[in-house]
């Protein structure tokens, strides 16, 4: 009975979707705003990667919201899992020598790679979120491979807060200097070099640290 009703509901939605997609043919050329960004992006923001210039400059406010959402998820996890019994830690078996050494060897390399991704976010594909996710995967590896060397959650919390504060403060400085919240008040530099695009690399570093700390904190909470 439940299945039939849900199939009928889905059928109604499906008919609607088919009608809706009729006037959006696949592969339609980009219009208006997207076109503007492609043609004026480098001139206006100095970032070669147009997606980055959209994420951090044209729609920087969305990204602030996005960072906030991840922050909420980390906090919410803390609220929901509060007061759960913490006895798992002793029960963990030490990892084998190969795994242990491998983790210790790979961990700094993963962190370095993550940092590379978010520092070069305005030049190559990638950016703060991707880099942060890579860093968090390094922490996941160390949790699984070397359970005795867990990093305390306090430091994650502090990094999280500082990353968020840097973002907001950069926005407020932009408001006072440039007149617009999150405006690009630093010189744009020469396109396609590391030190270009004004505040975008700084913001992406803040986002990278914050996302890395948040995802690692979420993993920590889940494992604990």
């Amino acid at each position: 009975m439940r299945k039939i009703i849900s199939l009928i509901l889905l059928g109604i939605v499906c008919v609607g979707i088919i009608f809706a997609l009729y006037s959006i043919p696949f592969g339609k050329d980009k219009i208006k705003v997207g076109k503007h960004y492609i043609y004026n992006g480098i001139k206006e923001t100095g970032a070669v990667n147009i997606v980055t210039s959209v994420v951090l400059n044209y729609r920087g406010f969305d990204t602030l919201g996005e960072v906030t959402i991840l922050f909420i998820a980390a906090l919410g996890l803390g609220v929901v899992l509060y007061g759960k019994k913490k006895k798992r830690k002793e029960g963990l078996e030490p990892a084998s020598l190969v795994l242990y050494t491998g983790c210790r060897f790979l961990f700094p390399l993963i962190l370095l790679f993550g940092a590379y991704i978010f520092i070069h976010g305005h030049l190559t594909p990638g950016g703060g979120f991707q880099g942060g996710a890579i860093i968090a995967s390094g922490f996941l590896l160390s949790y699984l491979g070397c359970p005795r060397k867990w990093i305390s959650k306090e430091r994650f919390n502090i990094t999280e807060s500082l990353g968020g504060l840097v973002f907001v403060i950069m926005g407020l400085i932009g408001l006072t200097i440039g007149g617009y919240f999150l405006s690009n008040f630093l010189p744009k530099g020469i396109a396609n070099t590391l030190f270009s695009a004004g505040i975008i690399p700084i913001l992406y570093c803040a986002v990278g640290f914050k996302v890395g700390a948040e995802l690692a904190g979420i993993i920590y909470n889940m494992i604990e």
């Binding site: 809706a20 959006i24 997207g34 906030t68």
Partner: protein
């Protein structure tokens, strides 16, 4: 230098700061909300003359970057959010004692920031992002108590809410595919001037109303609300009922009026509103056990009333809807806050446990009665003015269907009166039972007076005074509500203000 963007940026900055402060975190939400309150009061005169358009990012002309619109409607709601948020956060300092308290206060502040962002933004995707901020923090806060009921209702809320969000996103994607822009004024401009009559628009509108309807708790989508409101901590129930569902209603109004200007669609909105009203009030009448659940059902009913008033689609209808929205936010948060400590004292949510409480907690009972009377719409209180304006708007609209609906509204008012008088009767006109009979926690019911702590008492008294003040002197708020209603009706003006600033 008084930019409306500070209304969002400052609370966000404070909430990032809060985890660093540990024990001091509980003072962060009142400070940030007090700042917002002062700032939005200062912005009111400026906004009444001319809406402020704030560009964000690089400061390029509107379709090319996100912009905030501090219209009278936005500032009115921001003022309401910061006022209720400020009072509830003061109440929460004493009320929230157990659990991860500093996380509670941070999440609470973020919830309010999300609500403020929703009412101020002028970009449809930005609206979605703030909507998610609001929703995700409320999922976590509903589960704050960590008991069975809280977790269960949070899961319910999360499943329905996230499907709703996905629907909103599909709507946004359809609009983007059609017009290649995300700015609300630009989309509205495209829809109205190019008079594009494509079925895509109707489907997108349906997706938007379904998606926002989950948060706004309109009729078929409100299964989460009674559970979530009744099992959350009372402060969170107050904010969810007072602020969160209002933002859903605001989003529906914004989408239907500004984005699509769906005039023919409005009678459908009014019908949904009436059905929601009837279902909510009937369920509240049937709810004899749990007082918070009763208040939650009453919230559904009131939301139905507000949506009905929006569906009248005249200036008077919108005026009544906004007025009712303000009054309901004040009265319902007052009721949840007052019932919070009452439940704590008697140790039970059951209505019968409240018998004779009028002697033990005289002030709380008094303000509870004021809130209840205001919601019913009795004369000296604020609810009377708004309800009468909705009813007169419905009659003025000169439409047979709307006239029938107005009669249903009057009938629903009687139902509302029944269940609120039942509580008031329990409070004042029944002798309290044997104390040991309903004592669950140790040391709760005693025969002597046991009022709330002073920091919890002040906010609810302020709320009660505001309700009485608005009831006696409605000009206190009607000025800004009038210009907000005019602003919501004036779609062409909205488009011109935003797209024509360069």
């Amino acid at each position: 230098m008084l930019s409306p963007v500070l209304l969002i940026a400052i609370p966000l900055g404070f909430s990032f700061l809060a985890p660093l402060l540990k024990k001091g975190a509980k003072y962060i939400p009142p400070i940030a909300m007090l700042f917002n309150l002062i700032l939005s009061i200062l912005l009111v005169p400026q906004v009444m003359r001319k809406p402020i358009i704030v560009l964000l990012g690089g400061g390029w002309p509107p379709p090319f970057c996100i912009n905030l619109v501090a219209s009278p409607l936005g500032i009115l709601l921001a003022l309401l959010i910061s006022l209720v948020g400020f009072l509830v956060s003061i109440y929460a300092i004493a009320y929230i004692k157990e659990g991860a308290t500093e996380k509670y206060h941070t999440l609470y502040l973020l919830l309010l920031t999300g609500a403020t962002g929703i009412v101020l933004t002028g970009d449809i995707f930005n609206l979605f992002v703030f909507f998610e901020i609001l929703c995700i923090s409320s999922y976590a806060l509903v589960a704050y108590n960590g008991d069975k009921h809280g977790l269960e209702s949070a899961v319910k809320y999360l499943i329905q809410g996230s499907i709703g969000s996905s629907f909103i996103l599909i709507g946004i994607a359809l609009l983007y595919g059609l017009f290649g822009t995300l700015n609300m004024a630009d989309i509205a401009n495209n829809i109205s001037y190019h008079s594009l009559q494509s079925p895509t628009l109707y489907v997108a509108l349906a997706f938007f109303i379904t998606g926002f309807g989950v948060e706004g708790a309109i009729f078929p989508l409100n299964a989460w609300l009674p559970d979530a409101h009744s099992s959350a901590p009372s402060t969170i129930s107050a904010i969810l009922s007072g602020i969160a569902i209002k933002t859903g209603v605001y989003a529906i109004a914004r989408v239907t009026y500004t984005l699509f200007s769906a005039k023919g669609f409005m009678i459908f909105i009014a019908t949904i509103g009436i059905i929601t009203l009837l279902i909510g009030e009937m369920s509240a009448l049937g709810q004899k056990k749990d007082i918070k659940r009763m208040l939650a059902y009453s919230s559904i009913g009131q939301i139905g009333l507000i949506i009905f008033a929006f569906g009248i689609a005249t200036y008077y209808g919108i005026f009544g809807a906004l007025f009712q929205l303000v009054n309901h936010a004040l009265a319902k948060s007052l009721l949840f806050l007052a019932s919070g400590y009452m439940i704590y004292r008697v140790g039970s949510k059951e209505l019968s446990a409240f018998e004779g409480l009028g002697k033990k907690m005289p002030l709380s009972s008094l303000v509870f009665t004021i809130g209840a009377f205001s919601l019913i719409g009795l004369p000296p209180f604020a609810g009377f003015m708004s309800k009468i304006s909705i009813i007169s708007a419905g009659i003025k609209a000169n439409n047979t269907a709307l006239f029938v609906f107005v009669i249903i509204v009057l009938f629903a008012t009687i139902i509302e009166g029944c269940y609120f008088f039942r509580v008031v009767q329990n409070l004042y006109f029944k002798k309290s039972r044997d104390p040991a009979h309903n004592c669950v926690r140790d040391g709760c019911p005693t025969t002597q007076k046991s009022e709330m702590p002073i920091s919890a008492l002040i906010p609810i008294i302020i709320l009660a005074l505001l309700i009485v003040a608005i009831g006696i002197y409605p000009r206190l708020v009607t000025g800004i509500i009038e210009s907000a209603a005019i602003g919501l009706m004036d779609k062409v003006g909205y488009i011109h203000q935003i797209l024509g600033i360069f």
